[in-house]
Amino acid sequence: MHHRLIAGLALSLAALPAIAQDKTLTVYAPDYFASEWGPGPAIKQAFEARCGCTLHYQTGDLLPRLLLEGERTEADVAIGFDSTEIKKARETGLFAPHGVDTAALTLPIDWDDEVFLPFDWSYLAFVYDNEALEDVPGSFAELVAAPDDLRIAIQDPRSSVSGLSLVLWAEEVFGDEAEAKWTELAPKITTVTPGWSEAYGLFTEGEVDMVLSYTTSPAYHAIAETDDTVSAAIFDEGHYMTIELAAQLKGTDDADLAQQFMDFVVSPDFQSLIPTSNWSYPAALPEAEWPEGFRELDMPEKAIWLPEDEADALRAPAIEAWRQGMSR
């Protein structure tokens, strides 16, 4: 009697993980995305409600981890690639086409990539306190020419995506003069931080007047803190775009579920969660449906965007121009 009971118990225990495995989607995501202050938890809840499965995040550096794991990775979907990373990500050959109709996208540029699917985006911008800073530069050139007592914090292009996008932006705006412009800008750059959050912390502490961030940053302060004193300086030359992307793995053990998630990414349910949790523009939601506070944001006239091959070719010279120019 006892034996049969125990055997039965053991059998059902053995069966449990197998059932759960069938219905589990493993999503690799950056730490900020999956944390309780990011969009992750709400997205998990919304997706689980429609798929009847379990969505399971694994957080950390996306690309280094996928590169190390290779084809044996447990990931079904990876979300949170930066647009500057996708060339390297594509070269791994780990990803399958996203299979989503990109006509639904509302980006300011055309997007026809078949593998990497945008889920949100923003413009790089210098953010400032509109009650403290008086002469706000109206262009990148004006920023460079601003008096030397202006204090700016930026991010290192060798360790952060926003820093890298910045040097590409400068390269696009100034071309061959970029290095000289960095030399001119150098006295105003108080410090260069490894990542975005350290620099932004210096800004909120009042250590710097301007910080390299995004045009969507003021929305956080306006909505979450009802503080309207933070603005983004809009430059005439246009603003470099940052796009965040998702992709599904070729080696997924449940292609249907992964595809279901990719479809979910561009759905209004997902997209409407993005602005007030990831503090960026949704990639597939008309502006009219953006939450209050986002529609009112200052928008650049012109988007600057480099296709991945061009950006990749420019990466090393742009960083070197920055390093040389800043070291002078």
């Binding site: 995040y57 550096d61 280094p64 590169l67 204090r151 952060s160 410090t191 210096l202 502490e205 070291s327």
Partner: protein, 514 residues
Amino acid sequence: MGAAPSAQWRGDNPTRWAGGLAAGLVLALTLGTLGAVAWRAGFALGLGPADLSAIWFTTWQAALSAALSVALAVPVARALARRRFPGRGALVTLLGAPFILPVIVAVIGLIGVFGRGGILNDALALVGLGPVSVYGWHGVVLAHVFFNLPLAVRLILQGWLSIPAERFRLAASLGAPVGRLLEWPMLRAVAPGAFAVIFLICLTSFAVALTLGGGPRATTVELAIYQAVRFEFDLGRAAVLAMVQFGLCAAAALMVRAAGAPDALGAGLDRVVERFEPGGRRRDAMVVALAALFLMAPLAMIVARGAPGLLDLPAGLWGAALRSIAVALGATALTLVMALALALRGGALARLAMLLPLAASSLVMGTGLFVLLYPVVAPRDAALVVTGLVNATMALPFAARVLVPALAQAEAAYGRLATSLGLVGWARLRWLILPRLRRPLGFAAGLTAALSMGDLGVIALFAGDGEATLPLLMVRLMSAYRMEQAAGVALVLLALSLALFWIFDRGGRVDAAS
């Protein structure tokens, strides 16, 4: 005749075996992980101009930081050595705080004091002086002096206390100059070693340089490794840079040996040197006060900045705190066992194992562990264990330096007695060594636990289901714009680190019969 008991009679084969195992583990975790990364990537030989300038900056900032730490420590140690005042013991303990302060937390305090809106510039503005900037190479050096001045003071204070009181009395009775006769030779013996140890520490520190460095000129080798691993995914370059770092540290380690480094990082500096020399009281008071101000003001700023955030701590805080404490305790246990095993074993292999982690990059260690473990274990399952393992290894050099001299002392005093009674192996450990080493073990445990609490470690590669440790929670809050809450968490992290240190250090002292 002080002939040493012949090692063969100590009969400690089990401890030799344990020491060999510990040394093997350390070698695997330092050189082995580097080998794994290199094997995975293939060596990409050749360093660019950016790398060369990073190597150059790393070397000279470390030299300058170490020189300044030691130079400033001399008057502080001298004043502490010869003055007795209320609260001296507490001050000596508190002065040690920056050394165990999580870097991510310390930067908040340093900017609070030396930043543009910091109290230093406020004070300067009051007397009509222009603002000074903390950002740049001098910011890096300032931070390194902040972290390592306490260590330098400890090492040099030990030197002072090692001069027997009778010599001061003799010098005084002869009217001989104490400075030239006693203090200068002691400093000549102790200072180069202190310099070398701090130089080594500054060679591999990078998180500080990141925010206070001011720009690409202040790039260190460790930062370059960080960039290669996490951003450029260029493991070959990371491996080469890690080799360079080992090379730099090997050179520094040879320097340490040549200088005859004090291998001590001792506990219990309560004694006051008796001196028969009048005067200097006011100067000593001033020196101690200035040092205390320099080291304590940033701590006060962390409290000030963090206090508002305490009202609004995130829900996950206590879970993260428990996880951090669990990792710290695990790392502490492992470090103590390894340090003790290495100290008992002695010899060249053990000395190498005690030194190597100083030169290792935790990122390379983490990546190498990933490469080695991935075929066997799911990374998310190994996250906390790997973090503990890496933290334990990184703290090993400090713990070992606490235990080695204490062990030598215990053996010198009671080794023959133990041997004559036949105390070998575990019996010797139980009846002689562990009880005699209680205080240094407590001190080493506190040091390790506190160092481990603040480490972000290898979490970026191994993090699992979003189970955060405290430093990771801080990073998450910061990347979600919640700077005030992050400062609150920083304060909790500071308090817990200091509390862990205090509890362990205290535990070693309570009821420890001399």
